[in-house]
């Protein structure tokens, strides 16, 4: 059921492309041209690197997690994206896109957000560049990630709760898309992951790629060799491609992406697009989709707002089909057990998204054994998830949530 590439624009094997209304093509062409220019522009690259270093706090640490390693039975190196300004890997991509939008003369940026991390990062960069910012967020998510809603508003962004459909990330994406179709002259749409029509998947991957470039060098420094495996959680797939990309040519290094398995693949209530979905078109690209036999999108389910999306970036579909990367689901329960383990062994409260990667590391450690070195992308910190986790672990008073 793959659709052959017609134009070949922005394709990863049969995946990617541009399945969008004609009204957006001029803007996508303009963006692709501006990005192509910025890519080779020493000025742009220097400014991007300066922002990453002086503002976001890169390079992020590579942390040798000894107590976690002892628990999991392999050496675990954590790439600490949680220590970036705004608390997740999302800031890398956002600084790149907002810098580009600013150079293109756009006065307004919009974004969708699930967990709120991408929205917070976009609101932050918009404040830094003095741009107007509107963030679309599903009404379910504005509730479960209330802390991030307040952060965005403090930063001067307008947060629009989206009440259509499942009221989660997918609906926020649709709404941001609708905004963009009408405002494309003045507005840049800062997509939060490696999805969407060309050039977004490629551009977002490149802006996230410093994660892997740094981590590869840090591994060589620390170990004198490459890790045996690189592990990340996969929602749309930006932190995963961010850390994978530098290692893709290193064929000795195994790549693992862990999707949100929700209540389990068999339950039908999950967000595991690659392991539980099939090829299709969603949000402007051909990739894997959770869909029914008629091609209607199925709702995704997971405790993790940032992974709660029935699609995935097209490059992951390609890495999946070619076998270069391996994708597996992690259930809510598996992720929350890993969440607790990281808190207790290392004193690090991870984002629930990132806890899926820790749970994945447990599986991979079991398979590769104690001599293996596993590089794990700790994509974000868990402040935003404290209420959800407290509820999961039953830490709340009868009288109501502790806030």
């Amino acid at each position: 059921m793959t659709s052959p590439a017609s134009s070949g624009i922005g394709r990863f094997g049969p995946y990617g492309g541009r399945y969008v209304p004609e009204a957006l093509i001029a803007a996508l062409d303009e963006l692709a041209a501006a990005y192509e220019k910025a890519r080779g522009d020493e000025d742009f690259q220097r400014e991007f690197r300066r922002l990453l270093t002086e503002y976001a706090g890169r390079p992020s640490l590579l942390y040798d997690a000894r107590r976690l390693s002892a628990e999991l039975g392999a050496r675990i190196l954590l790439k600490r994206e949680d220590l970036n300004h705004t608390g997740a890997h999302k800031i890398n991509n956002v600084l790149g896109q907002v810098l580009l939008a600013h150079r293109m003369g756009k006065r307004r940026v919009i974004a969708e957000t699930g967990a709120g991390q991408h929205g917070v990062a976009t609101a932050t960069a918009a404040a830094l560049f003095g741009l107007e910012c509107v963030v679309y967020m599903g009404a379910v998510d504005t509730e479960r990630q209330a802390l991030n809603v307040a952060r965005m508003r403090l930063l001067g962004a307008q947060v629009v709760p989206v009440h259509t459909g499942s009221k989660t990330l997918k609906d926020a994406l649709n709404e941001a898309f609708r905004d963009w179709v009408a405002t494309v002259d003045t507005t840049h749409y800062v997509i939060g992951t490696v999805a969407g029509p060309h050039p977004f998947p490629e551009m977002v991957r490149d802006f996230a790629a410093p994660i892997g470039v740094e981590a590869r060098a840090q591994c060589l420094d620390l170990l004198g060799r490459l890790p045996d495996a690189v592990i990340a959680c996969v929602g749309g797939g930006s932190n995963a491609l961010g850390i994978f990309t530098a290692f893709v040519p290193d064929t000795s290094v195994r790549l693992y992406g862990f999707e949100a398995g929700g209540e389990g693949l068999d339950s039908g209530r999950h967000a595991a697009t690659l392991t539980g979905g099939s090829p299709g078109v969603l949000l402007g690209a051909h990739s894997y989709v959770l869909q029914d036999e008629d091609g209607q999108t199925r709702e995704s389910h997971t405790i993790s707002a940032g992974l709660d999306y029935p699609g995935v970036g097209p490059e992951h579909a390609y890495l999946h089909d070619t076998g270069r990367a391996v994708y597996r689901p992690i259930t809510d329960a598996g992720a929350m057990a890993a969440f607790e383990l990281l808190c207790r062994t290392e004193g690090i409260i991870p984002a629930i998204e990132s806890a899926h990667a820790i749970a994945g590391a447990r599986e991979v450690a079991g398979e590769l054994g104690p001599d293996a070195v596993l590089l794990v992308c700790l994509s974000g910190r868990g402040d935003k998830d404290v209420a959800t986790a407290a509820k999961w672990f039953g830490l709340l008073d009868e009288s109501g949530p502790i806030t």
Binding site: S3, P4, S6, A26, A27, F177, G280, D294, G295
Partner: protein, 269 residues
Amino acid sequence: MTGLASGAVVDSARASGRAALIGYLPAGFPTFDGGVALLTAMVEAGVDVVEVGLPYSDPVIDGPTIQAAADVALRSGTKTADVLRTVEAVAKGGAAVVVMTYWNPVLRYGVDAFARDLAAAGGAGLITPDLIPDEAGEWIAASDAHGLERIFLVAPSSSDARIETTVGACRGWVYAASTMGVTGTREQTSSVAPALVGRVRAATPLPVCVGLGVSSGEQAAEVASYADGVAVGSAFVRCVLDATDETDALRAIARLTSDLAAGVRRTSA
């Protein structure tokens, strides 16, 4: 086999000195039978070409009105097969019927299989709002094989070069989206539409129809003064959403259709 070509219907309206009226409703809205009855009422009251919408879970270029209709249709259990059955029922009455659909349901059905079954149901072709010719290799082959019309969209933001390639890929007619933005009725018709239609005409002899926003006979007349067809969607959906019951909805659809049909005949004014 393939039904009455919608391009031929638009052409013959043009030959008689007026614009064609193109009416949209999703299949299965509010129910399968109800939807067929509404579409049939539209044809009886003067719609020249029927656009049957395939209700889709993620209608990213539709505003709240059509989203609401798609929701109703999907919740009432509408399947792709029901859309084809709707086409068959409406085409049997002698109308030219095209399907307006997002791409994924067609991809899932199988592009060639969908083309084959649409032709067999008496459908004339497809309007594809999120499929540009650049990505349409499979559809171009399938529509050629099954003798179907391909109606691609052009937009105010389209460059002349893109208009050129897009109209080159069209068969039947060309759909000019008159405003930048999602579907929905608008107080004022677009000021950029006449220029867009002019640019399309310079590139093709095919008829050019304009959609997005028209809700009254007066607006229809204005659009008909420069376009070959006037496409109306949200205003029809609104009639049904606002109706107290099915009879009321049928009456409202007939009333709006008559108003619009008079509008497209008022071109010389």
